[in-house]
């Protein structure tokens, strides 16, 4: 056995580590140093694992001539058993006898094993009970040795993984078909493969005292604004909750305005989109166990953008963008405008159209607002039913339900044809929106618009829009004005808002998102401050 240089003897009692953030603290586990004897370690560990029957405790001996007693501990089904057998057990049990025998009382034994015997990548030495318990439940393989107060924590996790597929909610005609999956490391690797910048920073932390969910924050060191990075990091580390199950939960803990109906961070499952966001100075937050990632800070206009806009011709991309804004306006407004016009300002309807509308309306026993509200509720239920039924069945329910119920509603004089057109047109407009978040918001915002129009006609409708705009303007995302570049107006960013200008003209990064390096294309001088 090769000699390894000895380190200076460690003091008998290791200094207490500095207090960790709340999300990194362990629940009810004494933070004490591990004893040297294996039995002592097992005794300490027993209360914390005895009720977990999925924890495997595998005793074995290292070497054969002067064997050292050891234990391997892991959660069943979490580690890669092939790697465990081939790269850990086999070298320890069989090859350890080559050369000199391991000395059971050598305090450097764990170091020796890690450096010379184990053929796996990530190995960490731990000497405190809290870390030991935490690592077992984090899915690490633990090797405990007789005669050493240190244990080895080895990362050979491998669970069932979903195949990389195109995210159904963000389908595009061109561009990458890849979507994030539920595994954090694979998601990070997808970003790394697209962004090979050595300045790309990946910072990992843990959220949730009980779930101990891994969260990664990814940004480019010399592009992202350090204040924003710091703020996001502070907010993520300040989350003091027993657990989070998905990125959507973390998003709600770090947002600026919890009461708002609007999403304040962009969510995406597409690595190509995430990479473009990072290049604009944003921070990508990936939560283990969720394919949906968060990019922050975000702007309202981003919810109308899709990666395909940049892959298509400028004119096509711009046209589609304008369509989306129009769809958002119509999704919220069509029903309300119909009520306002029919109830308050019928003179706005051309006479040729007014007569048939009035004739059919006359056959419906409800006021127009009630008629529209019934149709809206029916439409929302059909949409929800479609979402929760499997694939083709859901589509069929949507189409058949819509047609049959619409036809039946007219025949039963439950609704007029104009009202059905209005309600279905509003619903259809929501499907044009590329972000599921803004589509959901538009479905809900329609209701207060309808009520305002029912009470005060077009005036109520206009005032509700004023309230909506004021609310949007007052919002921030990690301190960045949410309505930028519209308000405050950043003229240079307007080329990538309602329209998508030529890529060759986008020489600078958007000023609406603070960044350090403002130049995106070479040969461009940056003048003036943002």
């Amino acid at each position: 056995m090769r000699k390894i240089p000895r380190k200076p003897a460690t003091p008998p009692s290791a200094p207490e580590p500095a207090e960790k953030p709340k999300n990194l603290q362990n629940i009810n586990i004494p933070d004490i140093t591990l004893p040297e004897s294996l039995t002592g370690k097992q005794t300490l560990l027993k209360p914390h694992i005895e009720r977990s029957q999925d924890i495997i405790n595998r005793p074995f001996f290292i070497g054969t001539q002067q064997p050292v007693e050891a234990y391997a501990l892991y959660v069943n089904g979490v580690i890669d058993t092939d790697t465990f057998n081939a790269s850990i057990l086999r070298p320890l049990m069989i090859y350890a006898e080559d050369g000199e025998d391991p000395r059971s009382q050598d305090p450097e034994l764990p170091e020796y094993i890690a450096r010379t015997l184990l053929t796996v990548g990530q190995i960490r030495k731990i000497d405190r009970l809290a870390d030991l318990v935490r690592d077992i439940y984090d899915g690490m393989l633990i090797i405990m040795l007789e005669g050493s107060s240190q244990a080895l924590s080895i990362d050979i996790q491998k669970g069932p993984l979903r195949a990389i597929e195109e995210p159904p909610a963000e389908r595009g005609l061109r561009g990458s078909r890849e979507g994030f999956i539920e595994n954090l490391d694979i998601n990070i690797s997808m970003v790394r493969r697209r962004l090979r910048d050595p300045k790309l920073v990946v910072k990992k932390t843990v959220v949730g005292q009980r779930t101990r969910t891994q969260v990664a924050m990814i940004y480019i060191e010399d592009i992202a604004d350090p204040n924003i990075v710091q703020e996001i990091e502070t907010r993520v580390n300040a989350v003091n909750v027993d657990g989070i199950a998905a990125s959507g939960m973390l998003e709600q803990f770090i947002q600026d305005r919890p009461w708002s109906i609007f999403y304040q961070h962009r969510l995406t499952e597409k690595p190509d989109k995430a990479v473009m966001q990072i290049l604009e100075g944003r921070v990508l937050i990936i939560v283990d166990g969720t394919p949906t990632t968060i990019t922050s800070p975000s702007l309202f206009v981003e919810f109308f953008q899709a990666p395909g806009d940049y892959y298509e011709r400028t004119w096509i991309g711009s046209f589609i963008r304008l369509l989306r804004y129009m769809a958002f306006f119509l999704a919220i407004s069509t029903s309300a405008l119909y009520i306002a016009v029919v109830n308050f300002q019928p003179e706005l309807i051309p006479a040729e159209l007014l007569v048939p509308i009035a004739r059919f309306r006359n056959q419906v026993p409800f006021p127009v607002v009630f008629e529209i509200l019934i149709l809206e509720v029916m439409m929302q239920l059909v949409i929800e039913a479609g979402h929760h039924l499997p694939g083709n069945v859901g589509q069929t329910v949507g189409v058949v339900g819509g047609i049959i119920m619409g036809q039946a509603a007219i025949t039963a004089r439950f609704a007029s044809p104009a009202a059905i057109i209005v309600a279905s047109f509003s619903a259809m407009c929501t499907f044009v929106l590329p972000s599921p978040g803004i589509a959901l918001v538009s479905r809900i915002l329609r209701l207060p618009m309808i009520l305002a129009a029912a009470a005060f006609g077009a005036v109520g409708f206009a005032l509700m829009w004023l309230i909506l705009l004021t609310h949007l303007i007052s919002m921030t995302s990690i301190g960045v004005p949410f309505m930028g570049p519209l308000s405050p107006t950043r003229y240079s960013d307007l080329k990538d808002s309602f329209i998508r200008s030529f890529l060759t003209t986008m020489k600078k990064r958007p000023v609406s998102i603070p960044s350090q390096d403002k130049v995106r294309q070479a040969g461009q001088e940056v003048t003036g401050d943002r």
Partner: protein, 358 residues
């Protein structure tokens, strides 16, 4: 707020309901020269702007309340702040009443005035409650959103305008133009809000430039719309229209949309910017005067100011009464707009002289 945002705030505060009626007032005495009267009348807010800017330069580190108390003592300064706040509350009341009556006449004939006024007040309180920066930003956004409405003027100009109605230029006489100019200048009131808003701007050296641009952006459309109404109706017929700008849209048939006046008015119904702008300024002044720091105190005082304005707005019971009250109230603009900065400048000079003597 930035100087650019202040510019939008000035535009939003100066343009209110009076935009719809100014051609009639301007042509009352000046006839075909109403558009000249609109230009000349705009000199009053310009003067107010320049005076307040000169005053602000002397005290760049202070806000309105600190400056008032510095120049006139704690009690005197506080009284002046309260008077200006009250003045702004009364202007808010007038604007609420004007909007309510206008919307009652054209859009909500069956809805009682008090309900329309209350609706306007509640929305204004929500907007003003978000703070000065959001108020400035919503003014900026509304400017761009309402801008297309101004281009609606092109169609009546092409189809129904007769430029000979403007002739002979200057024919109504200097005295008539001067009298109309004074009447019009009252329409441009409210620039005195700058006494409070000036000190919220970060780059004060840019205030004059931003103010001049905003002043131009208000004056030119006023003049264009006045000229357009004159060319469509002529000076005599113009006097018979309560809201000539709306009548101009009714007088021509637009392709596809026949009732363009309605659409214009719907768009205009979000334009009660003076209400929330001035509410914000008065709420801010009172909060600072009472040396309160928290947002809830600002919201509380804002609600008090808004409620007072709402109650005042209910005083006129008919459009005739409203016009009479508005006429009287209009005279306070030159008094406050010119009086305040002149008084403050005089006090600053005297204090300067006293300091030098010492």
């Amino acid at each position: 707020m930035t100087s650019k945002q202040l510019g939008f705030l000035i535009m939003g505060t100066l343009v209110g309901v009076n935009f719809l009626t100014i051609p009639r007032t301007a042509s009352e005495a000046a006839g075909q020269d109403a558009w000249i009267a609109v230009l000349v009348g705009a000199l009053l807010p310009l003067l107010v702007l320049v005076l307040i800017e000169r005053l602000g330069r002397r005290f760049p580190e202070m806000d309105f309340i600190q400056m008032s108390q510095y120049l006139f003592g704690k009690i005197g300064g506080s009284v002046l702040v309260i008077i200006l706040s009250l003045h702004m509350i009364i202007v808010v009341a007038r604007e609420i009443a004007r909007f309510a009556f206008l919307e009652s006449i054209f859009l909500l004939p069956l809805t009682p005035i008090w309900a329309i006024s209350l609706l306007i007040l509640l929305v204004s309180l929500y907007v003003a409650g978000q703070g000065a920066q959001v108020v400035a930003r919503i003014n900026e956004l509304l400017f761009y959103l309402l801008l297309p409405a101004f281009f609606l003027i092109v169609y009546p100009l092409i189809t129904a305008a007769d430029h000979t109605y403007l002739l002979p230029v200057g024919g109504s006489g200097i005295l008539s133009i001067a009298r109309s100019s004074f009447d019009v200048s009252l329409y441009y009131g409210r620039m005195e809000f700058l006494m409070v808003a000036y000190f919220m701007v970060t780059h004060k050296d840019e205030v004059l430039k931003a103010g001049l641009i905003a002043w131009g952006a208000v004056t030119v459309p006023y003049m264009l719309f006045t000229a357009a109404c004159l060319m469509v109706f002529g000076p005599e017929n113009l006097q018979e229209q309560i809201t000539p700008v709306l009548a101009m849209f009714t007088s021509v048939s637009y392709p596809l949309l026949e009732r363009m006046d309605m659409l214009f008015l719907v768009a205009w119904s979000v334009a009660f910017r003076p209400v929330f702008n001035l509410l914000c300024m008065s709420g801010y002044s009172l909060t600072r005067l009472l040396n309160l720091q928290e947002r809830r105190h600002y919201l509380m005082l804002l609600t008090v100011a808004g409620t007072a304005a709402y109650l005042f707005s209910l005083i006129p019971t008919s459009i005739v009464e409203l016009i009479i009250y508005s006429g009287w109230q209009g005279y306070t603009h030159p008094v406050v707009g010119l009086g305040y900065p002149l008084l403050y400048l005089l006090a600053a000079k005297m204090r300067e002289g006293r300091t030098q003597n010492v």
